[in-house]
Symmetry: C2
């Protein structure tokens, strides 16, 4: 089966409520990174009763379990991504807003160094690194 988030939730003793099922579906069907507000809009279309705080609480739970990653790309709102769909990172230009996708491996040296030198297991699964792109560095 694919990255079965709902199955994992159930397995861990969380309740699989219709709200959670729809929130998870919204995250899975978004190829892109999706915001809480976008998830809320999608779920509400089918089930107008949901509350935005349920969306946030579900996202919090999924983050804790490690099933979704959360990234602040500097838009004033955070975006979510299913962890099972592959890890990557983003370079975000603070000048022009351009984003460059980065392979996970770019940070593996850092991760190893932190584990080796500090015994620290860094969660570097979906990072946004700010700075200036080729065009914008003066």
């Amino acid at each position: 089966m694919k990255q079965d988030i709902l199955g994992k939730l159930e397995e861990l003793g969380y309740r699989v409520t219709p709200q959670r099922a729809m929130i998870v579906a919204a995250i899975n069907h978004s190829d892109d990174h999706i915001s809480a507000e976008e998830i809320y809009a999608q779920v509400r279309a089918k089930y107008p009763h949901v509350n935005i705080s349920t969306v946030y609480r579900t996202l919090e739970t999924l983050k804790e379990i490690g099933l979704v990653t959360e990234t602040d790309m500097g838009e004033g709102r955070v975006r979510y991504h299913p962890a099972g769909k592959g890890h990557h990172h983003h370079l975000v230009c603070q000048e022009c807003g351009a984003t460059i996708d980065l392979d996970e491996t770019v940070l593996s040296n850092l991760k190893d160094a932190l584990r080796r030198e500090y015994g620290f297991l860094a969660d570097l699964r979906h990072l946004a690194i700010f700075g200036h792109c080729v065009k914008c560095k003066q």
Copy 2:
């Protein structure tokens, strides 16, 4: 070169208002990392008229110029630090909340790699890296 934030502001054509002077003083006098609310409280003690939005706007300006760094240590509020007081980073344990200070050099390899491979000039001056510390990794 001393870290004369106000002088730098003036030099760049920004107006040196009493509000800005007091906000900068609060940041400079804090040995620790200071939050917007803490700055606001300190400034208001001397000058009750200030508004919290002035604090946020001043911090935004100082960030843009590169005179202060902003770091989200996962407390639900962001902390500020004068950039002139030396660069460092933090490892933050998501389990127990412990923070480990990190020297700037730990990230210099990464910074070089990003510049070499992507032409991207990363602003890695005060980062918080989340994960699990020695005691908390299962």
